[in-house]
Symmetry: C2
Subunit: 239 residues, 2 copies
């Protein structure tokens, strides 16, 4: 499996998402629901609520942030105490509705990222996904700096935020160079940056058929039972 | 728990759905995705693919049928061999897209309900939900007759099709009087008809907060872990 694993470049990942939402028949609501549920399940498997009940969700301005908002909702229903940092909110219907859903579940939002990181048991990093392009802008410059310093366990959605989707971690001395999450949830397929990640690695987004995976050139592992995530072996062969 | 269980009437269930999609911030895509996933998980828990791999999904013309189509997609991804009977298809975007998703996963559709019931290992009954109003029209008169006769295990979505949502099974001699599914998946909350059901009973649709449940007067059990369904005890106290 590891020897044949293939990675989906940023360009291909964007094209595959577009295909899923055109000829694939999926709405963004559906894909994001399943992606966010995957992330919440990965958090549960890695850091269950009995040991790490409070979870800070760092939600970025795009679809990665939307995945984080969906995950926050499921985490609340799984028995966690989520708190959401969502500083840049696009005025789009879906995102507004995800915020409404969280407010109705009494999920808290915070503007104080410093205090939130200090107080939380663990972090879900949903700041940037495969469409991330530098430079990082405020307030995320400060956020990435905090993620470099924190000792709290971090689960990253799709790629570790600040990492280049195709080339991996920032160079020494660059912002984010010191940030390595504990857990990574690759959505649909691992991106090339995942080759540089040696922690606990899940694949999520259980909506792709084998035919589509073959067409796009990545392998699809067997998910166990009804799980929405599958743990991937560490891939040491590509480096 | 059983003594205090409350049921959601057809009228209240419709009003709650409307509330979830207005002030609740949910889209039908999101609610149906989670409802359908619940149904697929209930099938998996009751009749895993190792013993009952082929599953016939009977999809009706409304939202209950839509839940069935979503369930069919997840069942395919869970390793089942689903086949879908979907004779009355509303020309609505969401339903068309759900059919496209199934076609892309190579899920088969059939027009031959007699042969399909003969050949399948088990059945998911998603013909009618809480908005069902008699009379039953063709081809579902024939379908309900087949469900009365079959010995194959049947899982019903929300209510057993042909049962009255509020008053329960049809009277002796009426169409559907002989139909009792093995498994029932109540969505959001059990409907009054569930009082007359003594088989394996799941609750699904894990998106309701305790506040909403209290407001609408039904009790919300604890779902285990990340499961999207929770098995309910048989309620003998209400009859």
């Amino acid at each position: 499996m590891a020897a044949s694993r293939l990675y989906l470049s940023a360009k291909s990942a964007a094209a595959l998402d577009a295909e899923l939402m055109s000829s694939g028949g999926f709405s963004l609501d559906q894909l994001m629901e399943l992606a966010g549920l995957s992330c919440a399940q990965a958090v549960y498997k890695s850091h269950p609520p009995e040991s790490k009940r409070s979870v800070l969700i760092i939600a970025g301005p795009g679809n990665n942030g939307g995945d984080g908002l969906v995950a926050a909702r499921h985490l609340k229903l799984f028995g966690y105490n989520p708190i959401v940092y969502y500083p840049k909110r696009p005025n789009k219907d879906l995102y507004n509705r995800l915020v409404t859903q969280l407010s109705n579940l009494k999920v808290s939002f915070t503007d104080d990222i410093d205090m939130a990181i200090t107080e939380t048991d663990q972090i879900l990093d949903a700041a940037f996904g495969f469409s991330f392009q530098p430079p990082i802008r405020d307030p995320f410059v400060h956020v990435i700096g905090l993620l470099e310093l924190t000792k709290k366990p971090v689960t990253s959605v799709d790629i570790p935020s600040s990492w280049n989707v195709d080339s991996g971690p920032p160079k020494t001395g660059e912002l984010g160079a010191g940030f390595v999450p504990d857990v990574l949830v690759s959505l649909t397929a691992p991106k090339p940056a995942a080759k540089f990640f040696k922690g606990t690695h899940f694949l999520g987004g259980r909506f792709v058929s084998r035919e589509i995976a073959e067409k796009w050139g990545f392998s699809l592992p067997d998910y166990p039972g009804v799980d929405q995530v599958v743990e991937l072996p560490v891939d040491n062969e590509k480096l």
